[in-house]
Symmetry: D2
């Protein structure tokens, strides 16, 4: 299925999942399982490419991993090497053309690649490449990287890859598959996570450690920022040929995105996320009868908040997990409809109570407002909204799908104005300092990108047209 | 799709969901939404029948509500009256033939029906009906009831229905749809829940109140045990023509089956379920570092246990909610594979800890054993298993899909034997007395069916062939 | 998929195909192939039931045989006995509920049945059965027969079947499948064809001999009018317990419906159909440059016409055979659109020519009119329309899907009026006498039903309500 | 769906269909209909791209036109310009990646293209392009042309196109779609047909005139060999900037490929094809009782043979047109199975007869052999095989999907050897001279490519690597 092909420069590969398996007789099957464990990083489309040493094979489809693949389709993915990808669902360009792996034939043979991240100079690079005769079939950043590799005059793939990576700026956790080798790359800032594991036979690379758990891979270490890791028949080979940059892990992985049972950026997600809740309690507790999480993402922080404050936690909002392909809205208006199909309040328990509701973040504020109203409608006497991260005031250009600045409620409104909009009795965010403290670092010295809270972007945006060397 | 047609007597309509909407311009759409809210009661197949006053319309399919129905299919379901059904997935007879609503033409016109429950004399009745010339197309109990109605010589539908209901024994929450009226019926024991609500326009009947919440229906009351409720243009009409029986609500609805945000059997499910956890703590607390629930069903009881015991609750097991149509197992063995695709332990947090793990019940024990082993493998020092219900020692014949007695681990093993099998450091169940106390009743006087714990079945099984009057 | 359930009495099983295979290890596969060869008798739905001696298996779906069945589905149809059915597509009730085989459980066990034909007293029988308590799930005549069998007090299936058949009037070529036997039945009038063949292993029964050809069955003989043929482990057993009736083969099988390579009613379809064309030439030749058939059905008669008249035949109308599930009409009007997507004239060849166009029959006249106009538009100087059957003036009640009398153009218009409507230069039909002569019989003595031409219906219609014996 | 990505150079776009509609409010709908009329040129996949003046839209799928498109999908194809393509099914690379239209973004904006034909220097060009950094995503020749356009330094699209076309050798009937214009191109040899028509509003370009007939387009003229035809808001603009070549129409379009109701290469296909049959009779008639065509492709020539020889034609082989997605073969061997599911002999008519069977061509001979055996098995006394074209002794490199030379029976066997293999009583082919004469030309002076009969290829094959100017 394909849709409108518009002229917007690029669609970022936001919260996607990447996986690579090398040297295992069931490479495609393990990739499938690892993608399943990483389904939370993307539900729009899923794909796997494999190699049997001579040919590359590719299967992609729209939808969840378990819906895209069936046994005959997995069997077509032959060979002991495979890479896979889950694409995050964004508005607009929801087409198979943009599904990954991205696969091409070029001078040095066949190449497949999966990508999590977002290049900030993709548009400029694309313009420069087109000027010298390149054609583009997708709207993915990834295609830019592949063109740069194909355009390089270097003799080996690795030299071409290094030449290409020297041109791109931004977030990329990449896994390449060639006929006889797999190459994992992480950008010099280390924006997105990428971990390396050992299987009974062979190696695995994945966005998060929870993928290793399901396939019984043993966590070895994270791929380092700026590292190029080659896995071939002779084993692991590591290079770090790019100029080092200030480490800038996306702190949103801790706040919301990574699964709590994963270990990334040197830490256990569950512990950090729970500590956010404890710290939030220290900063903002009020007298109340219960703590209620917005499920499922606010749950871990709410536990921390409850523990620190001594206010009991209750499952005051029940989530309906049975989501199908489509959801049909009735013509007549139903109050808070969009929220209601996912969440339902437990009336008896909320009736007459003072409730502290915990969510991990507020983007536009529309859903939070519906939740507050739903809780009140269910009988809550007071609703105190607490957010386990600071106000998001700036868009992200490295891969989290935040809207433009104008749509971010915290970019144009004060906390008090937001409180009024939410119709909450009180509203408090976790402080920036408090958040950093929970990770064991300080606001002065830390390895995180805080651009969405501060506007201080680690990788600088290009202002002028790019001239590619040799073009 | 249809499959093997075997000679087993009947397939019980176990944990199904039933819904009826009367007098609303978007009857089919609201039925769809109510079925969506009741998806937890059945995921195998889903169907809706509607009436526009002249014709009945029927649409059914295998799978989740949101997958079976799309807008054109819902539009074919014309008229202001509709009934719907979610069928619970059981082994074997997973065929469209058994999907509900069940619809027929007979002497008094067209009739559609949905059913939650299980008749204990279905086999005998079917034999008697066949002897006098009836043909059966499905293996559902429901078809027996419809045959009895069609065979009755009474002049009106209601008289025929009463005559039919006098013959059947067991659990039934039924909703019938005829051209111009809807009829809701609950068996005299009140085994399964059935609630009545008021819509802005018209009425709704459903298995649980959470369905009313989503469609903004106002809860009026439960349909009474033994009540026949007719809804037509003139309003509600109630009859109770059947002999009264000892009220026998299925207590498993509180333990596991109903959604915690529902109100059934005169009580709030969340509160009762949490009280089970508190009582379990009173009866069986041990020294430990944390309480961990088996998500999602053990979560509410675990909260109660944690609160009562003062031992902090942790989300030590993370559930993967993205389940697709199929799941493909790798050829190589992966430890605890079946459990692992659903649950993953949070290693960092469990390492070296003494863990109390809470589940709502143990049936065969195989999954519980895998969970214990998974927790130990993740580093837990001690694993204490606590169950928020008594040992299940007898099969259910009224609609919960329990296996035969031999397969129930508690029917053939002592608690200590089960503990050894689970490889747990300790194991304790909630006591029968304690459980009843949590509902506000006593073991001497209560309105529940406890047959699965005690073997005392409220409705007696037929021993001899049945002779139907007038056949 | 299911649709509107209306109150119309019955949907006739018009031009369907029936197949039965007994005693062959690949019974379901051969049934599939035989249905494929009989696809011209019905394209709406297709189904197969099989037996392995202990259980019956059923698979049905909407669409063409080759689309409904795939290898896994055929493999589910176990056992050495199978029956199959293609259903003809009619307006309205296009639902899976009406797809055959029809399968039930009743007093004497499991039973599956396929049916080609139409009962004329189905409505009265259904009313009588409903009065005594039967329920109906489909709108097929076939269900009436099964109810009558189930209601019979006879001890054996065959006795029950005979009792049932004594009640029904009309057209039926039936094949029943029970656990260990297959029973083929043809009505006493012999309305529809039914042939018997010998396989390398076992037997085959089918609507036409072309089905035997594909599966390498050797044609033995036709099942006789009124014959009940039992096939079981011991071989073939024949009974003729019903009162004999005047043989009344549907002559439309020769005119249009049967495949030309079939042998039915004691004759070769191709030869008879070609002789219709020769006789038509004798009766109605005019001076012309070419004979053009309406493909594909008019082709054989056109060959005969050409041979007899000496006027060369040309493929002046080309048929597009690639028909998919749906066909989308443009919003703007295209001349003769409905005909054009199927037929295109060969302009160069028609330009300035006098054309005799041959079709097998005219029902409403709308398509014929479009064809005449299309030929003129393509340049034909004269268009002489010739029909290789007499004017259809009466509807068929035995199974051919003709419209009500009012819609039949020949029932309300003279030949000259029809000619004017078609805008043809001349119009002639084959005479009734001439048609009969082509079969080797005379108008006085012949074994055919000519009701659609004459209104003389062989089986009398019931005027009064039916009282079933013993009910 | 995607499959193996191998290293074979290119998959020729053999007998595909191309369509373009410009300036009509229902451009996509008319394209759909035109593709439907051209379904005989390709059944593997189908696709349409459209433009609304600002954006290009693309929809493609595997299967028949009428199965790929439904109303919502056609509605997504907005705008008054559209191009479409049917792809012919070949072995191996049956993937959506190779479905057309092919669509890219490049320096000069968005571009979609459809292609019928085959480049003989595609492999060399691809190598040269890859050397200079191009990446390839499909195995279609078409992608080479687009890369050449993108690489050109010319300022306008037309100049870039001309530069690109100067590099490619072989067969191409191309239609490009840009935001505001459509460009049709035919190679200088004129290998494949391409016709231009006038609609009530706007213009149509298509492979054959039968597509114009269905959408009521008026045939204007053929696009000339070497012509570039631009259609934009201001009308038609024609250029012929390429060096002229010897006109080399593929004579196989007359023999077999084009629909008989089309007008291409300045002639009426039906008349030429029938004349082939007449000439074949003049060259090779024998005494016989009937002429039988291999349906449907041998039918027109068989009519000519019958007319010229005076031997009556009979429909001795009946074709089953109901072909579904898959066809399941039984495990047990059935004689001539592959042929039998398509063709069935009319036994009664063939019994004891001397039959002349006419087919349009013999490729491998395996099917012809099965047909001869099938006719004998049905009782034919003598079987004389006549072929309405000369022996195919050389493969085609311009787009007809002939196998390699070794597989062509006539390349390695004499006519007598082939006769023996077919088990025919006699075998004769149409002579090369005779065939040309039927077209009104002579063997000395004619506009046809006869390479498959003679091995004289009009466009020379490249022997050395290509150096692209400016790369």
């Amino acid at each position: 299925m394909e849709g409108k092909r518009n002229h917007l420069p690029f669609k970022p590969q936001e919260k996607c999942a990447v996986v690579g398996i090398f040297g295992h007789p069931e490479a495609a099957n393990l990739t499938y399982l690892a993608l399943y464990a990483l389904q939370h990083r993307g539900q729009e489309s899923s794909g796997i490419a494999s190699s049997d040493g001579e040919n590359l094979y590719l299967e992609r489809g729209m939808g969840l991993v378990a819906d895209v693949f069936d046994p005959p389709r997995l069997e077509r993915l032959k060979g002991p090497m495979a890479i896979g990808h889950n694409r995050y669902s964004t508005t607009g360009e929801s087409t198979l053309t943009n599904a990954q792996p991205f696969m091409v034939n070029y001078r040095q043979g066949s190449l497949a690649v999966v990508h999590n991240g977002n290049l900030i100079n993709a548009y400029q690079l694309k313009r420069a490449l087109e000027e010298s005769g390149s054609i583009f079939q997708s709207t993915m950043d990834t295609e830019v990287i592949v063109h740069l590799i194909a355009r390089s005059n270097q003799n080996s793939f690795i030299e071409s890859l290094i030449e290409a990576l020297k041109e791109v700026k931004g977030a990329y956790s990449l896994i390449f598959l060639r006929n006889r080798e797999m190459i994992a790359v992480r950008d010099p800032w280390g924006f997105r996570p990428l971990v390396l594991g050992k299987l009974k036979e062979g190696y695995a690379v994945a966005s998060e450690t929870c993928a290793l758990d399901l396939i019984e891979g043993e966590f070895i270490r994270e791929v380092n920022p700026g590292e190029i890791l080659i896995i071939d028949e002779r084993g692991l080979h590591s290079f770090s040929p790019l100029l080092p940059e200030r480490t800038s892990h996306c702190i949103f992985e801790f706040i919301y995105f990574a699964r709590p049972d994963s270990f990334i950026f040197g830490q256990d997600v569950y512990s950090v996320r729970k500590e956010f809740g404890r710290q939030l309690a220290r900063e903002s507790v009020v007298e109340a009868d219960m703590v209620v999480a917005v499920p499922d993402s606010g749950m871990v922080a709410a536990l921390g908040f409850s523990e620190e404050s001594g206010i009991p936690i209750e499952l005051g909002l029940i989530r309906n997990h049975y989501v199908g392909r489509t959801f049909i809205e009735p013509k007549q208006s139903i109050r808070h409809f969009g929220v209601k199909v996912k969440l339902n309040p437990v009336r008896e328990m909320l009736k007459g109570k003072r409730v502290i509701v915990i969510d991990d973040s507020i983007v536009r504020g529309t859903t939070s407002r519906k939740i507050v109203k739903m809780l009140r409608h269910a009988g809550a006497r007071e609703v105190h909204f607490r957010v386990s991260s600071p106000p998001i005031s700036h868009p992200c250009f490295y891969g989290i799908d935040t809207p433009t600045r104008r749509e971010l409620i915290a970019s144009t409104h004060t906390v008090e104005e937001i409180r009024k909009y939410l119709t909450a009795d009180s509203l408090q965010y976790l402080s920036l300092e408090g958040m950093i403290k929970c990770t064991g670092y300080t606001i002065e010295v830390h390895p995180f990108c805080l651009a969405c809270f501060s506007g201080a972007y680690p990788a600088k945006f290009p202002r002028h047209p790019i001239t590619l060397p040799g073009l």
